[in-house]
């Protein structure tokens, strides 16, 4: 079947099987391998992206179900080659080690900050509770999100501060 959706602002159309999962559509059909694929069972959250502004686990959404919708992946986060505040926060606070969980963490953190620009630690921990990280122990990830909350303009603000 033909599926058309908007991904990071661009309209894309592909001919796919109805059973294709959104994570595979994004990675294999579009070559956007920033969205990772881990547990396959909606537990790890590394496949998190946005569908119509909501952060969801793309291993548990059909590509067909995303037809006509607005999808955002980690590739669309940086603008004009500039990291956004959340990405910069991960850099500043050493929020990643192997990086496997990072795309999902970033998409969830951005979703949180859109709704709550100044979350406390507990709120951040709750928000990322569907994203597993086997490396960092979460401490630096929480700090990275706090950094982003404190520097909404990202690196620009850091330079001028």
């Amino acid at each position: 079947m033909q599926v058309t959706m908007t991904v990071n602002g661009d309209e894309v159309t592909r001919d796919v099987e109805p059973r294709m999962l959104l994570v595979h559509f994004i990675r294999d059909e579009l070559g956007l391998t920033g969205t990772h694929w881990g547990c396959d069972t909606s537990n790890c959250g590394t496949c998190t992206l946005w569908v119509d502004g909501e952060a969801v686990k793309s291993c548990t959404v059909l590509a067909a179900m995303a037809g006509g919708r607005d999808v955002h992946t980690v590739e669309g986060v940086a603008q004009n080659g500039e990291l956004d505040a959340v990405q910069q926060g991960f850099l500043e606070e050493h929020g990643l080690q192997c990086g496997f969980c990072t795309p999902g963490m970033i998409m969830t953190a951005k979703w949180l900050l859109e709704r709550d620009p100044d979350p406390d630690e507990g709120t951040i921990r709750e928000a990322i509770s569907g994203n597993l990280c086997r490396c960092t122990g979460y401490e630096n990830i929480v700090r990275a999100v706090r950094w982003a909350a404190e520097h909404p303009a990202g690196a620009d603000e850091e330079v001028s501060a």
């Binding site: 079947m1 099987e17 109805p18 059973r19 999962l21 396959d40 069972t41 909606s42 537990n43 959250g45 998190t48 909501e54 952060a55 969801v56 686990k57 548990t60 959404v61 059909l62 067909a64 179900m65 037809g67 969830t108 709750e126 928000a127 509770s129 569907g130 994203n131």
Partner: protein, 291 residues
């Protein structure tokens, strides 16, 4: 890699269209809402529908509103909206108690109340919330609408009152005064299904319990509840001793099984302890002593 078996995909444009598609494709067709129960089952080939009918485009199913003397919740309301609803927080904090411990925020962005009820999983938290509150379910077919008490909705594990060419469109909960409600769950790790959980509402008339509802999750309780415990409490004073007696009945009459989430006796213990706690908290809320 887990991939579902092949199927045909249809997207419904309205409730009537969804029902017409169900009629056209017969019992090999299934509705898909959030897909967060159905797709995992399809990946494991525990469900092998030949046709999936996507109901995410349907309008008029995402309301949480007062309708007469009831609160009406559309079948496509996502968990996240239930968690954040000010109306539910005011009338039935049991919903937010339960939603806070259902899965994680990403799953809650996708899963729906209709899917939760229709899945009929014995560990589904909202099923025992609805049972405790003695709500009702509005089911539509091409012949029209019918209303089924939630206590008759779940007919066994993964079996509900919704027929082949029918769709759940709304859940309704009576508005009660002088009441409090609460939910408590024990899980092995954050976001997991319940080892056991309990929910309750308590309606007070002075110090007396005018009415009470109990819901029990994942402990094999008949119909997700324990009417004997409710009968024991109704019409008597709201005291810790009587809560303990009622909780003991839940312990004695439920029928949990030992599985990877825990042994049978531990689950019975939880059924008792969590029932006791939610009766306390619901009563404290009814008295305005706790938010």
């Amino acid at each position: 890699m887990q991939v579902p078996d092949v199927f045909e995909y249809e997207r419904a444009s309205s409730v009537d269209d969804a029902i017409a598609l169900l009629e056209k494709h017969g019992d090999e067709a299934r509705l898909i809402a959030g897909g967060h129960s159905l797709l995992p089952m399809m990946k494991l080939r525990l469900a092998v529908p030949e046709v999936l009918i996507d109901i995410n485009d349907l309008e008029g199913l995402d309301h949480i509103r007062i309708d007469g003397d009831e609160i009406a919740i559309g079948a496509m309301v996502r968990h996240a909206a239930l968690l954040e609803s000010a109306l539910l927080a005011e009338h039935y904090p049991i919903f937010a108690d339960a939603e806070r411990v259902i899965a994680d925020p990403l799953v809650r962005n996708r899963g729906t109340i209709g899917g939760s009820f229709c899945q009929g999983d014995p560990a589904e938290d909202l099923a025992s919330v609805g049972t405790a509150l003695r709500g009702s379910a509005v089911i539509r077919s091409s012949a029209g609408e019918r209303t089924v008490p939630i206590r008759e909705f779940h007919q066994g594990p993964y079996e509900t009152a919704v027929g082949d060419a029918e769709m759940l469109v709304e859940l309704r909960f009576p508005i009660r005064t002088h009441i409090g409600s609460a939910y408590a769950k024990v899980e092995r790790r954050v976001g997991d299904w319940a080892v056991a959980a309990a929910g309750a509402f308590v309606q007070l008339d002075g110090d007396q319990i005018a009415d009470v509802g109990i819901g029990l999750t994942a402990v094999g309780a008949d119909g997700f509840t324990c009417p004997e415990a409710e009968d024991l409490l109704r019409g008597g004073p709201a005291t810790p001793e009587r809560f303990a007696d009622a909780a003991q009945l839940c312990h004695d009459l439920c029928a949990p099984v030992t599985d990877q989430r825990g042994p049978e006796d531990y689950k019975r213990h939880l059924a008792r302890e969590l029932t006791r706690r939610v009766l306390h908290r619901a009563t404290a809320r009814a008295r305005g002593e706790e938010s």
